[in-house]
Amino acid sequence: MSGPFPALAGASAIWVKEIRGRMRGPRAFVFITFYLTVLGGLLWAYLRTVEAANQFGGFTEGLPGVEAGRAIFGGAVAILTLIVVALAPAYTTGSISAEREKQTLDLLVVTPITSLAIVAAKLMSGLAYLFLIIAASLPMTAIVFLFGGVGFEDMLKAYIVLLATAIGLGSIGVFYSALMKRTQAATMASYFTVLALTVGALFVASVWNVRAGDGRMQPPPEALLYLNPAIAQADVFCEMSGEGCVTFGSDVGSSSSGAESGLVGDGFEAPFVEEPPARVSFWPKSVVAWLVASAVLLFGAIQLISPTRRWRPLRPADRTPNLGGGG
């Protein structure tokens, strides 16, 4: 039970159990096959649509390679982001509450596995299948390298944002799962939070500007959209192509052209500022914000499932008699 990280000892037991359960039978493999087929079909359809639109717009020879590559990449990242947003909470939101419902949590907690190991293993085993889905899409998204216009570092950035988002959203699921007794309630709370972070944050950002609409553009605080995966991915796309850039009052960038990619969406014009003096990447802040949020949520989950030794400022040590034994 020792090893290099004693606090995580035994986590592999939960990991193995969860993975074994999830990968048992044909269900998991059928889903991945179905997913890759749909993803491939969607990307192909997306490419054809962009091609058609460009032909209609004057590119009679079809879409240039660079544009095609970027279009496929943008489409693939958008689909993967949607999948992560939809599935990351789903795979973790029952991780602890289901143990409570099945009345197996006590059996687990009385083993020497620490609460930290339980929570970490629940998160990672819940996300493992999602990571598999993301990894399985890599060869498909790598097709963009044939077209050009997308560098390895662009893809790396997009996948870093995807992974950070998955960890963050998964942590939301684990937290609510530890907080609530019923999986159904935890699921609802998780998706409500996800909705608030995505659609809600965008809505607030736009309303923010409407309120300040006194003829002067006043952008919303940048932090409002830190946990919005669409904005972070738009920033990655922006750094690659100069399109779809999201800029804020404090760190607007020179690469912003004002053009919008499909990721950010039409009508979300409020955060854009013309003639920016310098540009600071948004996506690394988003990644850090997700990781910090994840750490806070996991700490909360650990406290919630720990039967003893919960963090508290003062312990009632004065009421503890000394039995004279070891320990």
Binding site: P112, P307, T320
Partner: protein, 318 residues
């Protein structure tokens, strides 16, 4: 003999409710110790504190020298806990279930393989190794849950109502299994509502009510403390008035406190005398020509003791 489980002034409060109120217990090595009490007496709370699933509001408890407050991780290594209500992972085979808990305790793979086989044989589930856990009967699941408490060869077993919901056959098998575990040197702390079972199984009991221990020790000791003398049950081959005459005869004998005619025709005698006096009483009755069918000292009756101790004024009764 040393105390393997010890609680001192153990208390647990839920809001205004005091579930455990200064409980003092000592369980010695190798005992099967029964916690007896009515619903809400604090048995489950006590076991859950010992299992480190609850933090005491006051007092402390030690298991094999480790404090549940100061060193819960160490306590978890030396106990095997079976809760009163437990579930099973429904997507696992029997061997995987034990393998999972073996991994939780960091048991190396080769030892796990051996251990799984041994435990399945011990709980008589060897032929169910590849069966899915959810398809086992309730009794089998109970035995499997008991097996899971043994994967790390713990010193102390904490079993909360392990026989609840089992049919008589399964109860018998569980009882035999617990005896076998005691023979292996385990100290077993068990709570149950089925008192006759505890009486047969336990070496010592603690009668608990409203979070406090009302009586503790071997069943025979508690009985001796609570009862003045013994209870004798006599069956005579008489009916009607003759039966009442026989009752009156016994009542008139020396050292007999009471002689009561029970509805089934048995005469129950409250006797203050010793074994010689008992023999003399029997010889006298036979000499008086009484047709005696049976004459025996009433066996220890935990249920009776329990009712006596947990009566509205138990302190006075004790």
């Amino acid at each position: 003999m040393s105390a393997v489980v010890r609680t001192v002034g153990l208390a647990k409060r839920y809001g205004q409710t005091l579930a455990v109120a200064g409980l003092d217990l000592e369980v010695e090595q190798g005992e099967i110790f029964g916690l007896v009490g009515p619903n809400g007496a604090g048995k489950t709370t006590t076991l859950r504190i010992l299992a480190t699933l609850l933090e005491p509001s006051a007092g402390d408890a030690e298991v094999a020298g480790a404090s549940v407050r100061r060193n819960p991780q160490e306590v978890r290594r030396v106990i095997g806990f079976m809760p009163d209500v437990f579930g099973v992972y429904d997507d696992m085979k029997v061997w995987e279930y034990l393998d999972f808990f073996g991994r939780c305790y960091g048991i190396p793979a080769d030892r796990r393989r051996r251990m799984i086989g041994d435990l399945l044989d011990l709980v008589d589930l060897g032929d169910r190794r590849d069966t899915y856990v959810q398809s086992l009967s309730r009794g089998m699941q109970q035995r499997l849950c008991l097996a899971h408490t043994l994967v790390h060869d713990p010193q102390v077993l904490l079993l909360d109502e392990p026989a609840s919901g089992l049919d008589p056959r399964a109860r018998f098998e569980l009882r035999e299994l617990l005896r076998e575990l005691r023979a292996l040197g385990k100290t077993i702390l068990i709570s149950s509502h089925i008192l006759p079972e505890l009486e047969e199984l336990c070496t010592s009991v603690a009668i608990v009510d409203r979070g406090q221990v009302l009586a503790q020790g071997r069943v025979s000791e508690i009985e001796r403390r609570l009862r003045q003398g013994a209870v004798l049950r006599v069956r005579v081959l008489l009916e009607g008035e003759d039966l009442d005459t026989a009752r009156a005869y016994f009542e008139a004998q020396p050292d007999v406190a009471t002689a009561v005619l029970l509805p089934d025709g048995t005469i129950e005698i409250g006797f203050r005398g010793d074994d010689t006096g008992t023999a003399r009483l029997l010889a006298g009755a036979v000499g008086a020509g009484m047709p005696i069918v049976s004459f025996a000292r009433a066996a220890s009756d935990l249920e009776e003791l329990f009712l006596q101790v947990t009566a509205p004024d138990p302190v006075a009764a004790a």
